[in-house]
């Protein structure tokens, strides 16, 4: 187990990067505590796999350092970094028993059989695999095989970190729940440094203590799930996290105050110096219908079970709000109220009035 430090890290796949967009990973620093649960979250192509490969040693960064417990490992190959990895598709030896699959990473490193047996049984018990230890892996379902993969990731005691690369993609939704909560439970019991890569916000937010949100090669915000939800530092974070994501409406600024459709909107922050694009960000959870306020035209309401998602047109844009199950949805036109504590001004995408770099 180790504390992981990334210093001035940046990477380009091409030989002579010239412009900003040549970098697959733009420069950033990051510090991950020993034993923490972290997630790298972003859409495909955002650079999260590049970052994962740099940590595991499959890729050498063009710039910057990777430190494990303060020791520079940037030049070390993967096999010397003591990293366990669990992939999207289960990697299981079909012809071996569940027991031998779990034992494999240990036997491979010459661990004595008594220790192997002890560890395999411990890990099997944690993953509910005890009853199937002597079965061949070939007959198992996808989630059964992925449990073995998780088990193999956990079986070594000498690892610096365990990396999970979209481990639940092939799993059915109702089983995702089980594996996700299992993983969380395992992290409580075995406090390894765990890094979880995914494009699925639910997986990232429920698993991690801290989430690194990435977009087009850039780390846009690092924060606890609550911070990312309550105070997105960039409209991308607001949009990407939350389902539906944050509403983003173009606004006018005068005297540092936001105006929508000619109406002053109370916000939690003030606008900074003049910028190109100015927008208001407010989550659907913090928009409600009111007797007066910003005028809106109802476009449609979709039943999501516990609430309805109502889409409206207002101030030349589109916004969504959530109405609890059983509550009436107005039709035609209505007025909207934004909770001022959760309504913010964004300038050129970034939260106004704070330093841009995460």
């Amino acid at each position: 187990m180790a504390r992981i430090t990334l210093q001035n890290l940046k990477h380009a796949y091409m030989a002579n990067p010239q412009q900003e967009q040549d970098w697959a990973l733009k420069e950033f620093d990051l510090e991950w505590d020993d034993g923490g649960a972290y997630a790298l979250l972003g859409p495909s192509g955002c650079g999260k796999t590049t970052l994962l490969n740099i940590i595991s040693g499959l890729l050498k960064p063009s710039n910057g350092k990777v430190l494990f417990d303060g020791e520079d490992v940037t030049a070390l190959p993967p096999e010397q970094r003591k990293i366990a990895q669990v992939f999207q598709f289960p990697v299981v030896y079909d012809t071996m028993t569940v027991y031998d699959n779990l034992a494999f990473p240990l036997r491979n490193r010459g661990v004595d059989e008594a220790t192997v047996d002890k560890r395999v049984r411990e890990v099997a018990a944690m993953n509910d695999l005890t009853a199937t230890l002597n079965n061949r892996a070939s007959g198992l379902t996808a989630d059964g095989k992925q449990k073995i993969s998780l088990g193999r990731g956990l079986v070594r005691t000498d690892v610096n970190a365990i990396l999970f690369d979209e481990p639940l993609t092939v799993i059915d939704p109702h089983l995702k729940f089980q594996l996700r909560s299992k993983l969380k439970e395992l992290h409580h019991r075995v406090p390894n440094t765990m890094i979880y890569v995914t494009h699925d916000q639910t997986e990232a937010l429920t698993f991690a203590d801290k989430v690194v949100v990435m977009n087009v090669g850039e780390v846009v915000q690092v924060g606890t799930p609550e911070e990312l939800f309550e105070e997105p530092h960039h409209t991308f974070v607001g949009h990407f996290i939350g389902s539906p994501g944050m509403n983003v409406l173009k606004c006018d600024i005068s005297d540092g105050q936001a105006h929508l459709g000619g109406r002053k909107i109370a916000t939690a922050n003030k606008a900074g110096p003049a910028s190109g694009l100015t927008e208001i960000g407010v989550r659907p959870e913090y928009v409600s219908f009111a007797a007066k306020g910003l005028e809106a035209r109802i476009i449609k309401a979709s039943d999501a079970g516990r609430f309805s998602i109502v889409e409206v047109e207002c101030a030349g844009g589109r916004a969504k709000l959530l109405i609890n199950e059983g509550e009436p949805v107005p039709s035609g036109t209505a007025h909207l109220s934004f909770d001022p504590k959760a309504t913010r001004i964004y300038q050129d995408g970034w939260l106004a009035g704070r330093e841009r770099r995460p």
């Binding site: 109702h174 309550e230 990407f240 998602i309």
Partner: protein, 359 residues
């Protein structure tokens, strides 16, 4: 143009893959097949398409018995979870291929491909080969090709499963609009209850090769006709417990009881209560307190999902706000039993409006 299955079933050797199934999908309808992997969704779709011949029963389309009629002669479009494209053609030509087969004018082809590409957000990629696209873009190309022609029957087998979360959200929003104007039958298979709800239309709940419920999606969600359907249509899973109705009370055990709905006759029932009706906060006076041992609490930043044991049942609570609990913590959670569903011993929903079993 309606699609009708008349006792259509599929056996492979001694295994029954699809039990004899009868239902009708109306012209212009959007239908969801909801069920877990291996519930029979794909087999059922292949029977509808004519890719598989049912071993019993018949398939009717537009008033004609099409059982055994080959898929090529049926004007059917299919989209699979694993996208399939022509690797040596450009994205434009991939999407245009069915229109060329149908001998549409060049103008019409360009118009339709452009429209479809716009919707699928691949307009900028039309000149590229599929191999130069990301997985998500390749899937959108495959979808565009399937949707661009005027098929009578469009079958979508978990088409969004391999896409990014956010992209799925957007396409899920737009897909139903695309079919709104058409008179074709659309069938959409998914494993996700939330996706079924948002797509709307009508839903057939599938379990182990059997259609266990069929009707308007929101009705199947709110009033499933049986316990199996309720379980299929709940994520996180439906909370269940065995209860006894006696002398006007419902008792889960000697400590937990509440006033019985007056239409309920004495007897043993299984209750079903959705996770969002169980909360660490008491929202309603009628909510009952449940002693819980927390297994794990998942916090998503705006919601809490608490997995817990209560009196030997494994339950889940889904609530607003951040409610941290350590593993093994004792807690009191509140179940709003006014939202309870009651199922009889055969698993049929009791209709509390009439007191009768649901049909």
């Amino acid at each position: 143009m309606a699609l009708e299955l008349k006792n259509a079933g599929k056996k492979v050797g001694a295994d029954t893959h699809i039990h004899p199934t009868s239902f009708m999908f109306k012209p212009g309808s959007f239908n969801v097949l909801l069920g877990t992997t291996l519930a029979g969704k794909t087999t059922l779709m292949q029977i509808m398409a004519g890719l598989e011949k049912p071993t019993s029963g018949e398939v009717w389309f537009n008033g004609r018995n099409v059982t055994g009629v080959q898929v090529q002669k049926r004007n059917v479009s299919m989209v699979y979870q694993q996208f399939i494209n022509y690797p040596n053609m450009s994205v434009f030509d991939n999407i245009a291929s069915p229109l060329r087969v149908a001998r549409l004018s060049r103008y019409e082809i360009r118009r339709r491909v452009g429209e479809m590409a716009e919707m699928m957000r691949i307009s900028a990629m039309l000149d590229r080969r599929p191999s130069e696209l990301s997985g998500g873009q390749q899937q959108r190309t495959a979808m565009a090709r399937a949707l661009v022609k005027d098929s009578h029957l469009i079958l979508l087998d978990e088409p969004l499963a391999n896409l990014d979360f956010k992209l799925r959200e957007e396409l899920r929003d737009e897909l139903p609009k695309l079919f709104a104007e058409r008179n074709c039958v659309v069938v959409y298979a998914t494993t996700e209850p939330s996706e079924a709800l948002l797509l709307g239309g009508r839903t057939a709940a599938l379990h182990q090769g059997r259609v266990v419920d069929f009707g308007p999606t929101s009705e199947i969600y709110r009033r499933p006709s049986n316990l199996t359907s309720a379980i299929v249509f709940s994520e996180p899973p439906m909370n269940r417990a065995s209860v006894v109705c006696k002398s006007g009370r419902i008792a889960m055990n000697k400590d937990v009881s509440w006033a019985a709905p007056k239409q309920l006759s004495p007897g043993t029932y299984t209750i079903g209560i959705r996770p969002h009706h169980v909360s660490p906060v008491r929202h309603d006076k009628s909510a009952i307190a449940v002693d819980a041992t927390v297994k794990v609490a998942e916090l998503s930043g705006s919601e809490s999902i608490i997995h817990f044991d209560a009196y030997g049942n494994s339950w889940v609570s889904l609530s607003h706000g951040v409610h941290p609990f350590g593993a093994g913590a004792k807690a009191t959670l509140f179940a709003d039993v006014s939202h309870c569903m009651y199922f009889d011993e055969a698993g049929k929903l009791i209709d509390l409006a009439s007191g009768r079993k649901a049909a």
